[in-house]
C-alpha cells in the first residue's frame, strides 16, 4: 500500500478541505444559543435562580405535604 507522504497537503483531502458539514454547524451554533439561555436562567445575578433558593423552595414544598 502506498503511504501518504508527511506533508500537510497530502494529509488533507483537497476536494473537501474547506467544508464544514451543515449538521455540525447547527450543533455548534445551537449549543452557543443554548448556553446563553442556560447562563441567564441559572446565574443568580441574571435570572434570579440560586442553589440555596432552590433548596429552600424544595424544603418548603416538603413541609407543606
Amino acid at each position: 500500500m502506498s503511504e501518504i507522504p508527511d506533508t500537510a497537503e497530502a494529509m488533507e483531502n483537497e476536494e473537501t478541505a474547506h467544508r464544514l458539514p451543515l449538521g455540525w454547524l447547527v450543533l455548534f451554533f445551537g449549543l452557543i444559543a443554548w448556553g446563553v439561555v442556560y447562563l441567564w436562567l441559572y446565574t443568580p445575578a441574571l435570572g434570579g435562580w440560586s442553589q440555596a433558593g432552590a433548596y429552600e423552595k424544595a424544603a418548603q414544598a416538603q413541609q407543606a405535604q
Binding site: 500500500m1 501518504i4 508527511d6 500537510a8 497530502a10 478541505a17 455540525w24 449549543l31 447562563l39
Partner: protein, 472 residues
Amino acid sequence: MNEYRYDNQTVQGFILSAIFWGVVGIVIGLLISIQLWAPAANLAPWLTYGRLRPVHTNGLAFGLGVGAIFGLFYYIVMRLCRRPLVFPRLARLHLWLFNAIIAAAAVSLLAGKTQSLEYAELEWPLDVAIVVIWVMFAVNVFATVIKRKEEQMYVSLWYVLATVVAVAILYVVNNASVPAGLWKSYHAYAGVNSANVQWWYGHNAVGFIFTTPILAMFYYFLPKTTGLPIYSHRLSIVSFWSLIFAYLWTGAHHLVYTPLPDWIQTLAIVFTLFLIAPSWGSVVNGYYTVGADWSKMRTNYLTKFFVLGITFYGLQTVQGPTQALRVVSQLIHFTDWVPGHVHMGTMGWVTMTICASIYYVIPRIHGTEIYSEKIANAHFWLVLVGQLLFSITMWITGIQQGALWKVQNADGSLKYSFMDGLVKNYPYWHTRTLAGIVFAVGMLLFVYNVLKTIQKGKALQASPPSPAPAAA
C-alpha cells in the same frame, strides 16, 4: 533514514516504558477492583486500596499515557517537520529521567506520601522533577517545530503544541504548594479556592492528557494507516481552536452543588455542554475520512481501532457534558457511574488509539511488518468486550446507588443505609473484575505482539534479506 535511527530508538524506549508502566497499572487496577469486594486482599499498610488507587491512576495516566505521548509526539513531530529532533541527547536523557520519576512516584505513593489532590497526589520534590522533564520535552518539541523543513503545519502539530503549553500551565498552577518538610506540603490555595483550582487542573488533565494528545495521534496515524487523507482541514482547525478555547473553563462542573459560587458552576456547565461541538467536529471528521472507503475496515487491521476509538470519544464527549447538568450530576455524582464513564474514555478511546499508533510505529522503526495481525485482532476484540462490560456494569450500579441514596422516609430521613447500597454493588463489582481480566488479557496480547515485532526487526537487521525492505 539513518539520521533518524538514534531518535527512533528514543521513541521506542518511550513506547516500551509506557507499555511497562501500563502493565503495572493494569495489574494494580485488577487488584484494587478485587479489594473492593474482598477486604482480605488489602495488605496494610503499603498494599491497601487507599494507597494503590493513586498508583493505578498515576501509573496509567502518567506512566502509560504520558510515556506514550512523549514517544509518539517525538515521532509525529519528526515526521511532520521532516527532520530529526534538534536535541537528540536531551530526548534520551528525558527518557531515563521519565522512568526514574515514575518509579519514585510509585514508591512515594505506596509509602503514603500524597498532596491529597486527585491526579496531583505527588509531593513537591517529584513535582519539581516533573516540571524539569516537561521543560526538556517542550524545548525539544518547540525547537524542532521552529526549525522544521515542512512549511505547513498539519493539525496534529497544533494539538501537540497545545498539549505541551497547557499541561505546563495546569501542572505548575495546581501543584503550587508550601513545603512543610521533604514529603509534606500544603496547597497554595485554601478552601473553595483550593477546590476550584484543583478541579480546573483535574478536568483539564482529562483535556490535555486524554484528549488533545490522543487527537494529535488520531489525526496523524489515521491517514497514515489507511492511506485516506483527512476529510476536512477547515473542520479540524475550527474544532481545534474551539476545543482549546472552551476546555479551560469547564473544571468547576466537578463542583456542582458545592459552596463554589453558583455563577461559576453555571458558567462551567455552559462551556462543558458547548464542548460537544468541537469534540464532535473531530468525530465527524474521522467518520467522513474513513467514509471515503469503508472497505478499509476489512482490508486494514488498524482502521477498526481508530474508528472504535473515535466512536468512544464521541460517546464520551456526549456523556461527560450530560453529567455536568445539575439534574444528572445530583443522581450520579460520587457513585460508580463515574469510574464507568472514565474507563470508557481511557480504555475505549485513549488506550485503543495509543495501541493502534504503536502498532503502526514499531514496524516502521524496524522496516518490517507487524508480527501477527491475528493476535492484534484478538487484542482488539478482548479490550473492546472488556471495556464495554466494565463501563456498562458501572453505569447500572451507579444509577442504582444514586437512586438508593435519594429515597427518603416520610419524615425526611434516608431510607437506605450505607450497607444496603454497598451490598447491592457486589454483583457488579465482581463483574467489573471479570471485565478487567478480559481487558488485561487483550493488553497482554498487545505487549506480546509488540515485543515479537521488535524481535523480528532486530533479526532482520542482523541478517538483511536480499530484497530491499519497503521504504519506511
